[in-house]
Homo-oligomer: 344 residues x 2
């Protein structure tokens, strides 16, 4: 079985965008406008159509079985509007993911967007997290380390500001993928700079503090192959050592995992060489940041399975871990769900 | 000959820090305080002492010949104070580099810090750049893409805001190393996040615009092995393609170069595998970000020459380019200076 731990619903029917545009319009006249729910009017057939020739076709073509699926990351836009904007937008996006998972329970399992808002305590995300996990059967969440969208105006992930949310994550046994959203800072291209910077920044925050002493069971996935981290693994090991911190393995590799969204062979090889196989989860970010075919290989840039398949020095045991074993372990509820299904 | 293109005067005598602290003290009472020059009272012997057991010892031990040397990057602190603070601080730092190069002309050649200030047009940097190049014989500058120190409040490097400075750089035939300074944003650890993010961000900015059509002779060095870029080279090639931009080679590899400040063997191997040898300049960032010995190898993390030396598939011609040929070409005035010296 092959689990892709990083897929977004980037192909949702147009009514979702219409709802978002309506939210944005309402904010133009009144930035404090209280958002409300809205019947999207999306039929099951429209959902099927949006997936059949996209994520589902790609699953079939590439031989992946199941995608851990969440709302479009760039669309989370936590910097837009106010707390109520983010609340209704997140609920709407998550409900749509729930419908996807209901229609294709073998192909998708849900991860939720959180209703974060700059300056608002993340305690306000707990109710939606509980709803998604307990009512919808979601197995994780996407946590935006910079809800300001490229201004980085909030506290680092190691700040006690975030602790109530972490407590709930641990209680529910769900990990978070640390994933920024769009950028409203003209310095940062979203998928080319802000995403990668977010990953790198989060990892370095985790080096400097004792977050995992306070939460030994807290688990984070750092997407996009860990940003710059594996490429600069020597730098991070060296910085930790200079700062008198424990070795990285001991400090955070029980809690921090990297996905394989790296879009060329040498990058994937470095990742698999440098980071222990126990800490790598297969992912492709499909349909996502890069959609074209690499003229140098004739294959899709984001067909990350090909890169892993062609590494002959990877042991069968490590390959199993990367393709599904680690995902079952990191997404504890997924493991439990499947164990239950297997016993049923 | 081996040229290290990225060294900072991180070991300057204490009087330099005293001057900076005096500047900061004066700003406490009056943020608009007009700074002034100050006689540092540093003797030539103190300068010698600060280098003999540090950069010079390391040059000897590691077999590098010459360092392209600039003021301490984290100390530039363009976000501190006002335009006059930055002006006098930059002049002071650059004058000290000039003295270093005068005392050890075979070991160091100068690159200047620019008196940038958030919100102030970089036109104000031209006089200091000219002084350093024409009077001191410096061969380049460090350009901070985020003088706000982690708030990224200014325009991207591709904005016309920067053009007058670029015109002067081209006229003087000096490249810039794109190098951020310290971070005053608690989200960004300086050397572990802000530095690497700055590199990644700058590269992505350059993909999205036609800066090098406007300035075909402009040259940038992206330090720290190019941030996350080589590791995600497939992503950047793919993003450029999706955006309808020319292939990266054509778009920017006549103008953009990466240094080798990557502190482990797999990282250096990836860099040399992915980026053309014509675009890589040897560097170590010594004495810099990481000062310890790697317990896995028994050698200094930042002894980057060792990593390159141990790559057996690197051709002799490419090795020469990386160790000195490219530096002579990218730092045009250095090449000219040495040609003159050789003819004398």
């Amino acid at each position: 079985m092959i689990i892709d731990c990083h897929g977004h619903y980037t192909t949702a029917p147009k009514q979702l965008e219409d709802y978002r545009n309506r939210q944005i319009d309402e904010l133009k006249d009144d930035p404090a406008h209280a958002a409300s729910a809205w019947e999207l009017g999306i039929s099951d057939d429209q959902i099927r159509e949006s997936l059949e020739n996209a994520q589902l076709r790609i699953q079939r073509e590439r031989g992946t079985d199941l995608t851990i699926f969440s709302p479009r990351a760039i669309g989370m836009g936590h910097h837009i509007g106010n707390e109520s904007t983010s609340k209704y937008w997140s609920q709407t996006c998550n409900e749509l993911i729930h419908r996807v998972c209901g229609l294709y329970p073998k192909n998708f399992v849900g991860v939720c967007q959180l209703p974060q808002t700059p300056g608002v305590r993340p305690t306000n995300c707990i109710a939606e997290l509980e709803r998604c996990v307990n009512e919808f059967g979601f197995i994780g969440c996407n946590l935006n380390p910079d809800p300001s969208g490229g201004h980085w105006s909030g506290p680092p992930l190691t700040d006690k500001w975030w602790y109530p949310l972490y407590e709930k994550m641990v209680e529910l046994d769900v990990p978070a993928m640390i994933h920024v959203s769009g950028s409203c800072n003209p310095n940062f291209h979203a998928t080319g700079a802000h995403y990668i910077n977010g990953d790198t920044t989060a990892f370095m925050q985790l080096i400097t503090a004792d977050l995992f002493k306070d939460f030994p069971a807290l688990k984070f996935i750092i997407p996009h192959g860990g940003g710059a981290v594996p490429y600069h693994w020597g730098r991070y090991r060296g910085l930790a050592q200079d700062m008198g911190r424990p070795p990285l393995k001991e400090l955070l590799l029980n809690n921090v995992f990297f996905d394989t969204c790296v879009y060329h062979q040498p990058g994937i090889e470095l990742l698999l060489k440098v980071i222990p196989a126990d800490n790598i989860l297969f992912a492709s970010e499909v349909v996502g940041a890069v959609r074209g075919i690499d003229p140098e290989t004739g294959h899709y840039f984001d067909d990350t399975k090909r890169y892993i398949d062609s590494i002959d020095w990877l042991s069968a045991a490590d390959r199993e871990k990367i393709f599904h074993g680690n995902a079952r372990r990191v997404y504890g509820r997924f493991g439990a769900r499947n164990a239950k299904a297997a016993g049923a």
